[in-house]
Symmetry: C2
Subunit: 339 residues, 2 copies
Amino acid sequence: MEINKVTIHDIARALNIDSSTVSRALNNSSRVTEKTKIKIIEKAEELGYQRNALASNLRKRVTNTIGVVVPRISRHFFASVIQGVEETAYLSGYNVLICQSLEQLERETQIAETLVANRVDGVLISISMETTNYNHIHRLNNSGIPLVFFDRHCNIPNTNNVLIDDFKGGFDATQHLIQKGCKHIVHFSGPQALEIYKNRFKGYKAALKSNKLPFKEDYVISSRLMELDGVKNAKKLLNERMDFDGIFSANDVAAIGAMKYLKEKGVNIPKDVAMVGFSNEPISNVINPALTTIDQPGLEMGKVATELLLKHIKSQNKLIEPQTIIMDSKLIERQSSKK
Amino acid sequence: MEINKVTIHDIARALNIDSSTVSRALNNSSRVTEKTKIKIIEKAEELGYQRNALASNLRKRVTNTIGVVVPRISRHFFASVIQGVEETAYLSGYNVLICQSLEQLERETQIAETLVANRVDGVLISISMETTNYNHIHRLNNSGIPLVFFDRHCNIPNTNNVLIDDFKGGFDATQHLIQKGCKHIVHFSGPQALEIYKNRFKGYKAALKSNKLPFKEDYVISSRLMELDGVKNAKKLLNERMDFDGIFSANDVAAIGAMKYLKEKGVNIPKDVAMVGFSNEPISNVINPALTTIDQPGLEMGKVATELLLKHIKSQNKLIEPQTIIMDSKLIERQSSKK
DNA sequence: CTGTTAGCGCGTTCAA
DNA sequence: TTGAACGCGCTAACAG
């Protein structure tokens, strides 16, 4: 019940050898006899030795840890990404430090600082909605820690990014609605500071244009895209008796809020209104099994981003060109199982 | 773009003072003139100094970090707990290390080892469904790191626990169904290695008994309570044409799976079947807004567990009696908003 | 108020 | 193959 203070020196002393030999043995160095190695390992177990990663990492100047920063871990998309990150990292013997910014710049800045202070070997990040100031990102970069953005990236040159084609997604979503016969499509848009929402918006406009439909400023409702924003948006649409027959939501959560409200008010989706949402929170499929979504492959994205990051970490010295990987995201039209 | 190697010694040299003074200044010690303090902080900024937490923690023998181990971060209940943990920890200046066992004993063991190696100051844990072997828990205990179980605890004496009254929950749930007129209540049960499922099961049996309803072994379906298990369970009920009019599911996710399947097959809840699920994944409320649940206050639980843990951490030396805190969980009967 | 000295626990030279 | 000595970057004890 006493705090463990067993060090390699204690093991060394008990065996009448030097601590450096113990260190080598515990790291399975080939420069130690198999016999003494066994002896050391047994004694370590006996004394209840637990290596001190702090000391080890300090000395090695490497932590074998990568940090991943997401807005919220409870969001299905980000949880899938983390899953992919952990799987890939694990295969390469890396630990993962999970951090959530809760969409707050202040927390994100704080997190960045902590990650640097703890000398993580690399960072994966999807920036918060509040992130318009990039100071903390630059500090991260200047600290020499490899950095990869995924999904939500910064508009900074020479960065590594793993993204989906948001313009295409926005275009496809809108095109889909138009093909379903919609002529008055509302767009739930997000903070324009984020590239992803900007590009989804651009895709929306481009699809309207290519179909010779008019673009109307007041058909775009901007918000932080939380579930309550979706509710508010839908309420606004009904209250102001807007003439709309389709909705393209820039994310799933806002779409969920809107669906709940519309359902409550007796508006059917997709019959009265067609709807497309980005990403694929499983809940959306439940509220309306026929909801069409632009699927973001979170698991894959996590894996790809981690691979890219590890590549940079492992070739620390040689300069590797930063790159942007665009992943495939496809429109999925689910069939309701009810007939 | 070069790796940051600025240390307090560099700052000291640039200012022709000693590194210990720099250390004191950066830690805002009162034993440094305000003037030199400012000078030092400015120089630190100028050189782009980033403190090395590894070295600091090694020296101080404290990391100001607590680890929290959950089965899955994507589960709403655990995400709320983590939220509560972070809020409370943050107020006391502690960092939080989030780890997920994915319900695997092997991963849980690995995580425990990593936490010890990284010398976290304390650990909060909700054990996995596979955890029947407690070796890693004992190692954690022996390392002298304060430990608090929440929700899913171990059957080990002298431990700290923050739980809800599972027996009462199971009892209330069953009682509720009986009051609704159910006479043939099925129970979706979980691994009996976990105390929580054992106790919910006991509550179920006790409620039947106190209402003089017969307990039938084959009305208990045991599984790992994943969503697919719920689907399977529901399928089994229908296929075997079991005579049931109520379901008490030991968790929400299995209830969700069952609800989806039953809905698809045209069985209505709560008219054809009444149902109660533990915990409150928001999705369950969407599939069936009238679903009754035993609400587990995740946020509160996270806060309380963290407070208990911090109390132990802060009074490291004096022995504090281990304690078990039972939190209130109440049955919530939601009203469908549709009339 | 500041400097000196001595480790925290580990890994890595360099000799032997 | 092993040992001796040093230092990773920082903090804490003790002087002054």
